[in-house]
Symmetry: C2
Subunit: 317 residues, 2 copies
């Protein structure tokens, strides 16, 4: 979702009164209207129609959409046996404003009991702002359970104009790295994660991005890819295809191999600290972004349903 988006930074105006005239109002309440087109055109033809809206990514540029589909497919293929089917209600799997100008999709699959996977969350949001600009946010999170201390996966792409995109791609540490240098070595040094960051930083039009939320900055690892692309109209898709694509895929491969599948189980008595830190991370991210941004983007009702679903899988209230 918009966990890494901070309202101050993107200067999102309040969305009331809603813009008019409404568009795509036939699309309003049920995902069933969207499922046929996506399931036929996508290689990920899930029988569960809840997946269909997510896999549309209808507003992304071609390379960006292809990347998101590839990442979700890769993660689901590797972790499939550990995941439960999606259980989000239809009005969370697809939602939009009364005007139809802003739409979104959220899907969550929890890990099976006793699996090391806590949940996988995918989403897209498309918001037509009163200024006429479109805001598109595509997200893939994968959180691990307290059976392992291996990092969570975070990918978020925030496009606020045809010429600019903000990237967050990271393995989120589950421990204080100053106090746990071996953890830093295992998951960040030995995996050569920083080489991926360096590749992107060498690309023209890409530079380091600082979230306006200091808490979000604290959550990120020292190899986090937090960057902004600012380029000519039409070039964002080229940069996604030529540079971001391979880095994102490598990051997901490292996370799958070294964290989700390869990460070792830890003892029960070490789990309390992990749970405490994970819970705080979840609470703060909901507080910082979801609770403050979603209501003005999608109205209180839809925002409430979405936040409820996320809090349910986060195990917080």
């Amino acid at each position: 979702m918009v966990v890494l988006l901070s309202s101050q930074h993107l200067h999102l105006p309040f969305l009331s009164p809603p813009p008019s005239p409404p568009k795509r109002s036939n699309h309003r309440t049920s995902i069933s209207m969207t499922s046929s087109s996506s399931s036929s055109s996508s290689p990920y033809s899930h029988k569960d129609t809840r997946r269909s809206s997510l896999l549309e990514f209808p507003h992304l540029s071609p390379s960006h959409r292809e990347l998101m589909l590839d990442l979700i497919s890769t993660v689901e293929t590797r972790l499939g046996p550990h995941l439960l089917p999606s259980a989000v209600p239809p009005d969370v799997a697809y939602f939009q404003t009364d005007s139809g100008n802003s739409q979104g999709s959220l899907d969550i699959r929890s890990g099976r009991k006793d699996s090391k996977i806590d949940f996988i969350l995918g989403s897209w949001l498309h918001c037509l702002l009163p200024s006429g600009a479109a805001l598109d946010i595509a997200t893939l999170f994968a959180y691990l359970s307290p059976k392992t201390d291996a990092p969570h996966l975070l990918l978020e792409f925030i496009q606020s104009s045809p010429t600019s995109l903000i990237l967050f791609m990271d393995l989120l540490p589950r421990k204080d790295l100053v106090l746990h240098p071996n953890y830093l070595e295992t998951f960040y040094q030995n995996t050569q994660l920083d080489a991926q960051r360096s590749k992107l930083l060498g690309v023209p039009n890409i530079k380091t991005y600082f979230s306006s939320s200091l808490y979000i900055r604290s959550v990120l690892s020292p190899t986090a890819i937090a960057m902004s692309i600012n380029c000519e109209e039409g070039s964002v898709d080229e940069i996604m295809r030529d540079y971001v694509d391979s880095v994102a895929k490598e990051l997901v491969r490292i996370w799958l191999d070294e964290c989700a599948v390869g990460g070792k189980e830890i003892e029960e008595d070490e789990r309390d600290d992990l749970v405490r830190r994970d819970d705080l991370l979840k609470r703060k991210t909901v507080e910082i972004d979801l609770a403050s941004n979603l209501p003005r983007l999608f109205g209180a009702d839809a925002a409430g349903r979405i936040v409820d679903e996320i809090q349910k899988v986060f195990g917080i209230d």
Copy 2:
């Protein structure tokens, strides 16, 4: 010292065999030879001659030297009543290589018993590298004791050529910020520290710098000023005077007001975690940089004496 300098990043060559011919060999073993000139030209005419070598900063450009003297004076004036006199031996207060091409000065003042100040450390290093380039590192650390959890102060300026300088200016967190959002709010959000970082990042020729050590990156706060200046020859001093000077002074003012003097005392039972984290931070910084870089810059003997003094005040071995 060179705590934030990583050998890989600056590509420092090994200094053996030492370059020749030797210069300033009359300067070799005792600080007494340097004390008269500095104490007469400096407003900080300490009777303790150990201070004299430090306060020379003989190789810095005028604005840079003036800034270092101002910062040290400001910190010592405010914290003076809480500090013991320097106790570093003369061959640590000033040291150089046999050739005289590389020189350095280190001074440390410990906090009085029961004070919130652990120690203040100032140093400069000047190394003439075999390539003919000079490396100059000027440092001011101020560490607080476990009586308070307020951040430590770190300022380090690493100049490896007449056209480039790396800045580290930060208040180092003493706690895991993900787990302690109130700490983040108190010392980083409410103090508006990020505004100082933003000021510098808007200056042409200044950009974000990433230490090649992931541990050092982890140690820094989310408002850390870790930046590099790359400009025309002669412009470094202008940038120091016009931009860095005011930011460094404001950072030190915030640290003095909100951390060193203003920070509240914490309960005894909360101190164990602080000590554990501080100790690890100290051990790792010695291991990462001092132990690996100093011997090749100044030889094993001088490096051993310097590291011993630092370990003594760090309370580690």
